[in-house]
Amino acid sequence: MLLIYCPHCLEHREEEEFSYGGEAHIARPLAPESLTDEEWGDYLFFRKNPRGIHHEMWYHGVGCRRYFNATRNTLTYEILETYVVGTQPQITGADA
């Protein structure tokens, strides 16, 4: 049971209020039609699966209904920071 700080509500709330949104910082290609199937497939399907620092989206669905990003250690489940969409993480892993 994670305790997650919502950067919009400005408080810690229980995991039950949130749902996971997958890897963060994936920009949708501006001109999808100009991409090859392989390039489009990379955008669609391929995700990082790091052992350690991971930047990911969370949705405060049973709260403010807003998405935000979190930096989480996938090994310890520690959430090192949360930050609003459109900003960059302060904490980055070796491969980030």
Binding site: M1, L2, L3, E14, S19, G21, A27, R28, A31, P32, E33, L35, D37, W40, G41, L44, M57, Y59, G61, R65, R66, Y67, T76, Y77, I79, V85, G86
Partner: protein, 1005 residues
């Protein structure tokens, strides 16, 4: 009814209050303050159970939750509880308990015959013996389980209630022994919000049975004093009979509080147990230590007990469980038991110490009493059957690995053994901290903290009282400071303890026998599951090396006690057999729950009607009054069909479907998801989400759209209406409403924040009655005078504001039946009123309420898909033969568009939506049936697709189905086959998915 083992000193019990109880059908007497275990021992009951595998008679070994043998079934009927430990059941008047193992009873057990042939049942016996033939395993298992016993689950519903509480605190202290008590006091004095929980009926832990003096007075006086100090602090919550059984991520811990179990048959009110779900800023673990028994031959005979348990029964309960004691030890600490036994006026036959010349203070005290000490010796075997009769003692070499002299027999009826202490590291282990083996204390210690926690006292491997108190106080102050309270400095002076100096213990787990382990009488490691030292060695011989594998092969630690007594001994014996150190062998990982936990407490009040929320539409009561059968759609209760008289479902659905096409029907469509969308960029946003365009949709108009995921697969569908400039109402499927809302918000918030558009779920605000059928207009006209209902002025896919039955309404001309339809939306509060007025208005046309089943049949007659039934997340609009819904000239590459050009999306031979018409018009294909071309081919057959929807259509007069078939759109007229599991085959012809009114004229009138 004599309590032959009751002492004149009463410990913490009250002998003036006697309590009658029944164990295995016999009535006994105990006293207030007893546990079932102390009362049984007081009455000289030797055999309390039978072991799991060999059915050997077993007696009480311990005094707490580590007890492996005294496993009982409490009470009977609905409230019966299986697998409780006698040491943890507080005695109450009228208590009834029986052993979980043993047939016909524990004293005469037919299964015990197996025990005589123990050597025939080595580890893995079941795997090896009952493996073949495979199909008989279920039969074997049935008998094995019955033979194994271990409690009966109640067959009636639990009459008790349970509660859950969510709590927050600054400092949670686990365990109220000496270290925990001072930790809680220090944290409490700092002003922090503290919870201290302990599994016992009273706080004090080991001090409740201690003779040690604290600040010059008895340990129990000190406990009383610190308890009252804690009680005076309003910021400290004290939870007795409360086991912290799990330590989860981000300092979330669960506590099971047993509130009324100890009150027994008294009329009690309130919940039986309560689960506290605690989020703690800081945690102090003060969970203490278990004494470790020495492993020797036939150490499972009743009358072999833990040394500390013997002391506890004397000092706390006033019970001496025997007459003549032999104490087996490798350490000084256990000599306290000899002193306690002597003080109780009973005979200490001898102390058998594996060390060559013990001379600690306690040793000298015992020697001073004239008690014989066999040093450099071990108890190598116990003799007796249902009670110990003697102990075989022999000299050992200095490493304690070999018998080096003559064996002598000491007559006795009690062997107390101590092999040192094991820190209770379970909760620390739950956090992922890796336990560290410490040679010096011969115990695991908690590993480096992974969460906001620290251990203090015996659970950290600090076994001395004064050191433990210091550690506890320091941990309490530090935890409070880390939580933002106090300066981290211990405030109260620590009490003075007269500590005796103890000499080091010897590292000894398995006491050698004159015969090698494999030939010696069984030396039990895990009593509950009959795992012996020889069994562990055999596992190694058979090639098992990992402690996790040996655990599973031998079943070491698999019982309800989870190996609390046996695990460390087992690992040590394994390490020795592998010829490696204990730290290299490691320990198994401890996981929640620390002790067995009732499902009732985990579920709390979330049962029966409160298990999951139920959503009702505004007209729900009307449906109930009409006798509707209901179907669960998500959390919604939707009318499924409305049977009349003795109609079957099939008859009712046929009648409802015919009524809609021939006159008029009415459906409660309130559950459809409704999202209100507003903002200057609303049209642009909606257009990016749907496959078709909404840029030119004018107020008063509706459009049907399909939403794709970015991979091009259909995700939801529905109608979107333009209410006004920059204002839209999006309908979603009933089940998809929440997912669609989250989906819209995902894109707006994370990808296109520059688009000004806002979403509000309004599903529950509106009640929707769908009036559909050729007479729909006539019905609506009777209750609506301010909308021009003529086809010219209110056409298909239009919507109008107006008044229906006196209520402000939005009326949509959209249709899921293919008939002339009006979907009338009113504020939910007026939903039933409007519904009843429509029923009244429709009476002359025999208006027929219909449910979801008829809705499904009617739409299938039209070939309208249901997302999630006819699609499965791998279907494109083209697969559904719905290319017409994809805008080809949209400026923006809408969600999923690019994927429609992926090589796999344009592949030939994709599964495509078609209709199926069975050759026999009355046989209805089972939904999910696989479709093949040739039913006579060999298995595995080449699958062509599957049936997604299938019904009998009264309107068509034959059975219809929708199916997805490879390249199906090019196979019209082909015959395919659906083989069933029973060998039968239904043949069907591939036809258009639109069975009824293929030109779509009826909805357009």
């Amino acid at each position: 009814m004599s309590q032959i083992n009751r002492l004149p000193t009463c410990g913490r019990t009250d002998p003036s209050q006697t309590i009658k109880f029944i164990f295995n059908g016999k009535t006994y007497q105990g006293v207030a303050g007893d546990t079932l275990a102390s009362a049984l021992l007081a009455n000289g009951v030797n055999v309390v159970g039978r072991s799991f595998k060999y059915s050997r008679p077993r007696g009480i070994v311990g005094h707490g939750m580590e007890e492996p043998n005294g496993i009982i079934q409490l009470g009977s009927g609905a409230a019966t509880v299986p697998n409780l430990k006698v040491t943890q059941v507080e005695l109450y008047e009228g208590l009834e308990a029986s052993s979980v193992n043993g047939w016909p009873n524990v004293n005469f057990d037919l299964m015990g015959i197996i025990g005589l042939f123990g050597r025939l049942m080595p580890p893995g016996f079941y795997y090896k013996t009952f493996m073949y033939p495979q199909k008989l395993w279920m039969t074997y298992e049935h008998f094995i389980r019955k033979a194994a016993g271990l409690g009966k689950t109640p067959v009636e519903a639990d009459p008790d209630t349970y509660e859950k509480i969510n709590q927050h605190c600054d400092v949670l202290v686990v365990g109220a022994g000496p270290a925990g008590l001072v930790a809680a006091l220090e944290a409490g004095l700092s002003g922090a919000r503290v919870i201290i929980a302990d599994e016992q009926s009273e706080f004090g832990g080991s001090l409740l049975a201690s003779n040690e003096l604290i600040d010059g007075s008895s340990a129990s006086d000190w406990v009383t004093s610190i308890n009252s100090q804690l009680e005076s602090l309003s910021n400290v919550q004290r939870l007795r009979r409360s086991t912290v059984f799990g330590y989860y991520d981000h300092n979330f811990l669960t506590i099971l509080e047993r509130r009324t179990d100890h009150l027994g048959l008294k009329a009690v009110s309130g919940p039986r147990q309560c689960m506290h779900r605690v989020r703690a800023k800081q945690v102090v673990l003060a969970t203490g230590a278990f004494e470790r028994p020495l492993v020797f031959a036939h150490n499972d005979i009743p009358g072999v007990m833990q040394a500390s348990s013997v002391s506890t029964y004397i000092n706390r309960f006033g019970v001496a469980p025997g007459r003549k004691l032999v104490l087996a030890t490798n350490n000084d600490n256990a000599y306290r038991t000899a002193l306690d036994w002597h003080r109780a006026g009973r005979d200490v036959v001898a102390v058998v110490d594996s060390r060559s010349s013990p001379s600690g203070e306690l040793v000298e005290l015992v020697r001073g009493l004239g008690i014989q000490i066999f040093d450099g010796c071990g108890v190598i075997e116990a003799k007796g059957s249902k009670r110990v009769r003697s102990a075989l003692v022999a000299p050992l070499n200095s490493e304690g690995t070999k018998v080096v002299g003559a064996v002598q027999s000491l007559a006795c009826d009690l062997i107390a053994s101590s092999g040192g202490w094991s820190a209770v590291i379970h909760l620390s282990s739950h956090t992922g901290a890796k336990p560290v083996w410490d040679e010096k204390i011969v115990s695991f210690r908690p590993g480096e903290s992974k969460q906001q926690e620290r251990s203090a006292g015996a659970c950290k491997g600090t076994f001395g009282l004064s050191d433990g108190l210091l550690e506890g106080a320091t941990a309490g102050a530090e935890a409070a400071q880390r939580a933002g309270f106090g300066d981290g400095v211990v405030q109260r002076p620590l009490p003075a303890v007269d500590e005796v100096v103890e000499q080091p213990q010897q590292t000894l787990f398995l006491v050698p026998h004159t015969k090698p382990t494999s030939r010696a009488p069984s030396q039990f490691v895990d009593f509950q599951l009959d795992v012996s030292a020889a069994g562990i060695e055999l596992a190694v011989l058979e090639g098992f090396e990992s402690v996790e594998h040996v655990k599973r092969y031998t079943a070491l630690g698999f019982g309800t006690d989870q190996g609390k007594l046996g695990n460390i001994n087992g690992m040590a014996i394994l390490a020795n057999a592998l010829g490696q150190s204990i730290s290299a062998t490691g320990t198994t990982i401890f996981r929640p729950s620390y002790t067995p936990t009732t499902f009732g407490a985990i579920a709390g009040r979330d049962i029966k009607d409160l298990f999951d929320p139920e959503r009702y539409t505004a007209a729900h009561r009307w449906h109930v009054e009409q006798g509707a059968a209901f179907e669960d759609v998500g959390q919604w209760k939707r009318p499924w069909y409305f049977p009349q008289g003795n109609e079957t479902m099939h008859q009712a659905v046929n009648r409802e479907c015919l009524a809609v096409r021939n006159s008029v029907g009415i459906l409660d469509a309130s559950t459809l998801g409704k999202i209100d969308i507003q903002g200057p960029d609303a049209a642009e946003f909606i257009t990016r989400m749907y496959t078709n365009s909404y840029l030119k949709l004018a107020p008063g108009k509706c459009r049907y759209g399909v939403m794709l995921k970015e991979d091009g697969m259909i995700f939801d569908d529905g109608v979107c209406a333009c209410l006004a400039d920059n204002h839209y109402l999006m309908f979603t499927t009933t089940g998809g409403a929440a997912g669609v809302l989250a989906w819209l918000e995902l894109w707006q918030q994370t990808e296109w924040p520059e688009l000004h558009v806002y979403f509000t779920s309004v599903t529950d605000h509106w009640a929707t009655a769908t009036v559909t059928g050729p007479n729909a207009r006539k019905v609506v006209a009777k209750v609506c005078s301010d909308i021009d209902l003529s086809a010219d002025n209110f056409g298909f896919m239009d919507w109008r504001n107006g008044t229906v039955a006196g209520v402000s309404a939005r009326v949509f001309r959209i249709s899921f039946t293919g008939e002339l339809s009006y979907e009338i939306n009113v504020s939910a509060n007026y939903g039933r009123h409007v519904w009843e007025k429509l029923i009244e208005a429709g009476a002359e046309f025999d208006i027929t309420p219909y449910g979801t089943e008829s809705m499904h049949v009617l739409r299938a007659e039209k070939g309208f898909i249901i997302v999630g039934q006819d699609t499965d997340g791998s279907m494109t609009p083209a697969d559904m033969n719905m290319d017409w819904v994809v805008g080809k000239n949209k400026a923006f590459s809408f969600i999923g568009k690019r994927s429609l050009q992926r090589s796999d999306s344009v592949r030939e031979n994709r599964k495509q939506l078609v209709g199926l018409k069975t050759l026999n018009p009355t046989s209805v294909l089972p939904e999910g049936s696989q479709i093949v071309n040739d039913p006579t081919q060999a298995i595995p057959m080449a699958m062509q697709g599957h049936v997604t929807s299938s019904y009998y259509s009264a309107n068509m007069g034959y059975s219809i189905a929708l199916a997805v078939v490879k390249g199906g759109l090019n196979r019209m007229g082909d015959t395919v086959h659906c083989p069933a599991a029973d060998g039968s085959v239904i043949a069907a012809e591939i036809v258009s998915s639109v069975f009824y009114d293929p030109k779509g004229e009826r909805q357009n009138v």
